[in-house]
Symmetry: none
Subunit: 205 residues, 4 copies
DNA sequence: TATGAATGAGCCTTCATTCAT
DNA sequence: CATGAATGAAGGCTCATTCAT
């Protein structure tokens, strides 16, 4: 009980937080490679160098660990996205900025993204995932808002805006499955590629 | 061992095959909802109405069952795709036909697709999945071939053909996550939507 | 899930119930000797001759097993007690009959009684123990009723009836801690001894 | 090892002893409520306000802590009992004095008594409990001696002295399960009640 | 074909205890 | 004196699979 109580003294606290992030990152890597359920806690302890019980200083449970991975993925992204849409730029520019931020985030959190995608069924069903679901929804809403503003100011014309958004989500969410850091394309280029595709679609109606 | 010996007499055989397909479909549904690993065989027996042992008349193992689900997804799709590209039609038309067949297949195998997507890490890593990996690769190759022929005959111009293909794969593979049969869009419209998007991109370079 | 589903076919069902009772009896013995918490499930599997998982065909969980032990203790005793008080006999005779039945039951369920006593703190606190608590309370109420009737018809006179009842409960409940089947005193003698003590107390006021 | 080294300087020593007694009392309370095994050391640290390691300055181990609880229960009681029987009073008076001392002690150590009772199986079996067992035995022997002297001087007549003693032990040991300090009956009244019951029994033969 | 009892390895987690600080 | 990170054995339980019936 109350195993996961971060220390209150600043020095210890900082070390604790650092290690916790390491644990989460390691877990994300393993889960992405082998699947969440297929990864045993003992594989995780081996990978972290901690012993069975030691791990539980930093996490509450395997399930909560999964949630933490998703939080680390969504929270900063959503925050950045909110900054972007708060600035007074034209919709098309905002869309491009959002995509740049998004793809950059994906490039830095490939494992997190893969885990997030493949554990879709858990996220969708269980009540303790409500917050995560809300964050994802909020991010998608932000994207849609930009498209709406684009239609409003006459710079974008979609035959079916909802469908366009889903198309975009599909492309982007699929990216971590093929992208790798040593590949030909960087996140910026990919973001531009997606952006061009959508804007071109919005120009034709 | 060798529990799975389909009967040889035609009448029995047919019933056997029908039940086997039912089992696979039920499994696909459960796996899609709860995840492959998270679904226990006893949940599956409950859903099929069979008892623990009875199930094993129709499947060899849980893993083989997963492979069967993917086979039911990929085999007919690949076959149909080969027919399409064997016909003497211009690339753009073939692409549209492929997308129509593909989306129609997805509409009829949503659960299979979801399972296929979320078990990516297994499919990618284990040796017994070679055949499945080969089929997927073959299908993607067929798509690429069409684009190549489009470039060759001057009807398509891609800035980056590989990227375009990945974009397309992303959109399509994401579809089962949002599409539902009672929704506004049917598989044909979606296929057309994707096709237009790609062709428009290929027209602009 | 649904591990504990007794078979429906009568023949199997009977064997199942018999084995289940064996498991419960074995568990009662071990728990009485070593304590509930201190007895591991693997000690129990060893004692039953079943393997780890096989045990769980007959029980839902270790906790539920504890409840079953108490049920096997209280249910038949309460039933018998109700029969006794339903008969039209004078209170003193009923009291004696109750004590005879009670002590006979204890003699046949010494382990159950010891477990019941030493797990008092669980029984008292947890909600899933409500039914067991209710049964115990009901039995004690039956005893008190007899004393009340004894006072009513003028054959018993207690200075403090509640205290007399507690005294009786103390004696009886302590019995399993010292009694053994090969000892000098049989359950009938013990019952008579307790009965005489109480009746003598009730005669003096 | 040898963590438990009480300080030698008197002032520190006193504070140390006080805290140690607090720890034992807190432990007794928790163990009585939840059971010994079911209470984790971390629950105990939380209740004492100490951290994991700090606790071990005051106790050697969880098991030794249990022994300490029983020592705190039995040692002063046995000492007091010896004083009582050392005085030159008639057996019946000594018995009453013993019961008064006993019940007063129980009233002040309800938690200790409950723990002592419910951990019977440990006390009975393990070698390191020999001393505790000896104390209990010694106390019971003292009681029996008084009854023997009562029989010897003709003031008591038991049909079965051993049985009478067990009856008494049952009543008294059961007391902590129902008595509470805010109840109607004080320890003296209870002691008198028990004493009267036994003496009345001893008068009738 | 089908049943369901049985297996046993392996799962996640807890917990008493130690020790560097 | 006290902290809290860390250990690692053991805990209860699950689950894919087998096999006598």
């Amino acid at each position: 009980m109350a195993t996961v109580t971060p220390p209150t003294r600043p020095a210890l606290r900082e070390r604790y937080e650092r290690r916790r992030r390491e644990v989460i990152a390691t877990a994300a890597r393993l889960f992405a490679q082998r699947g969440f359920q297929a990864t045993s806690m003992s594989e995780l302890t081996e990978a972290t160098g901690l012993a069975a019980g030691g791990l539980y200083h930093y996490i509450e449970s395997k399930d909560k660990l999964l949630i933490s991975i998703c939080d680390e993925l969504l929270d900063p992204l959503l925050e950045r996205a909110r900054e972007i849409v708060a600035e007074p730029a034209p919709p098309a520019e905002q869309l491009r900025a959002l995509l740049h931020a998004w793809l950059a985030h994906i490039a830095g959190h490939r494992d997190h993204m893969l885990v997030f995608a493949q554990e879709r069924h858990v996220i969708e069903r269980e009540p303790q995932w409500r917050r995560v679901r809300g964050r994802r929804k909020a991010f998608e809403q932000l994207l849609d808002d930009v498209l709406v503003r684009g239609e409003a100011d006459g710079t974008m014309h979609f035959e079916d805006r909802g469908f366009a958004l889903l198309t975009l989500l599909g492309m982007v969410n699929y990216t971590p499955q093929w992208w790798n850091p040593r590949g030909r394309l960087g996140p910026e280029q990919i973001a531009d590629g997606y952006c061009d595709l959508i804007l071109r679609a919005s120009a034709s109606a």
